[in-house]
């Protein structure tokens, strides 16, 4: 069990950016984001024992974290709190985020607003597109055809470019 746990934590550390960026795209509030990342981690751990390598880790992780993020609205306001109740970010900055270029931070704030304007399903496509995932992998994550991915992304790219320029 400890070996599996260590393996899982290694995978999580390698892909922590996915959790952070997806949580940020779906939840603006810091506490909700932190709770969402905890829920993502729990669901990843739950499925990790059954991971059989038929898809890449990134594909597997994206499916779970996107499903958790999109379904997050269903979590009750009086949801059961886990043992971890401190308002500490589950994935946190090890230094403060001043180590991220200021201009990049400012432009990212604008870009994140544009991303959040998309509906939940298209937002998933936007995130996969921005992470430069091949269309075949996006199709695998989403469960739609490559042709449909291509058509949707064409429209999304236009909308995103227009929104970003406008902001």
């Amino acid at each position: 069990m400890e070996e599996l746990q260590n393996k899982f934590l290694t995978v999580l550390e390698a892909h922590k950016g996915i959790l952070f960026k997806v949580a940020n795209a779906y939840q603006q509030n810091q506490e909700e984001r932190s709770d969402l990342m905890q829920e993502m981690t729990l669901q990843l751990w739950k499925s990790f024992k059954n991971y059989n390598g038929s898809v890449r880790y990134s594909t597997w992780i994206y499916r779970i974290v996107l499903n958790v993020a999109i379904s997050y609205y269903r979590r009750e306001q009086t949801r059961k709190k886990h043992v971890i109740t401190k308002p500490v970010d589950f994935i946190h900055y090890i230094t403060d985020d001043t180590n991220i270029d200021q201009e990049i931070k400012q432009r990212m704030a604008v870009l994140n607003n544009c991303i959040r304007a998309f509906n939940s399903i298209d937002r998933a496509l936007v995130l996969l597109f921005l992470d430069d995932k091949p269309q075949a992998e996006i199709a695998q994550v989403m469960g739609i055809s490559v042709t449909n991915v291509s058509t949707r992304l064409y429209r999304i790219r236009q909308k995103l470019a227009k929104a970003f320029q406008h902001e």
């Binding site: 922590k16 269903r74 399903i121």
Partner: protein, 227 residues
Amino acid sequence: MDTNTDVLKLWGDYSRQLQQVIQVNQEQAITLLQLKLSSNLKKLRPIKWLGVLGGIIWIGIGIAVLSFVVRTAREAGEPINYYFFLSLALQLAITAWGTALYLYHLLLIHQVQLDTPVVQTQRLLNQLQVSQLWVPRILLLQLPLWTTFYLRPEIIASFSLLGWTLQLLTMGIAVYASWWFFTHIRRENIHKKWFHSFFGTSEWPILETASEHLKNIEQLQKEENGQ
């Protein structure tokens, strides 16, 4: 540089820098992983459990009352008051149906596998969420029975014109209300004000969001099938 290339570069630069400055809180992660993953049933909100339990207790009490009515009537050598008996029996059957359906949907939702493709998972989750509308539709079918359970042959025999009028009016309103709710508690009406008032501030936003998600997924599915 066109905007899309600019956006992709920005995202790439941010991602690379982000990877350096964020870290999984190992201590919290280990504590989280070592939590006994609660069974799906425990994740249900307490008030939903209370609803299910309330339904089961009501059915239990109802069956006990029906048995008592039958036994007492037999011992006294009197006929059973069929108005009461049938009203209560039908009411219990409807409550049992509604409670079982509610519990079934809740369990199905919590068993959905999240490592399956997003569109399929979200379609199933949101369909299950919206299909919970069947529960109030079914439970409200019992409204007319609440206007008949108190009737007895001797009461009916002594009804005046006013009595008959009031009784028929009450029954008519109950039948109409139950029919109206059955036909109007539907996904298409989720955005209406009366729907919002009826379901309250905790359930309605969840139903509305589920319905929106389903619309987006159905649109995606149409595009998929159109190719």
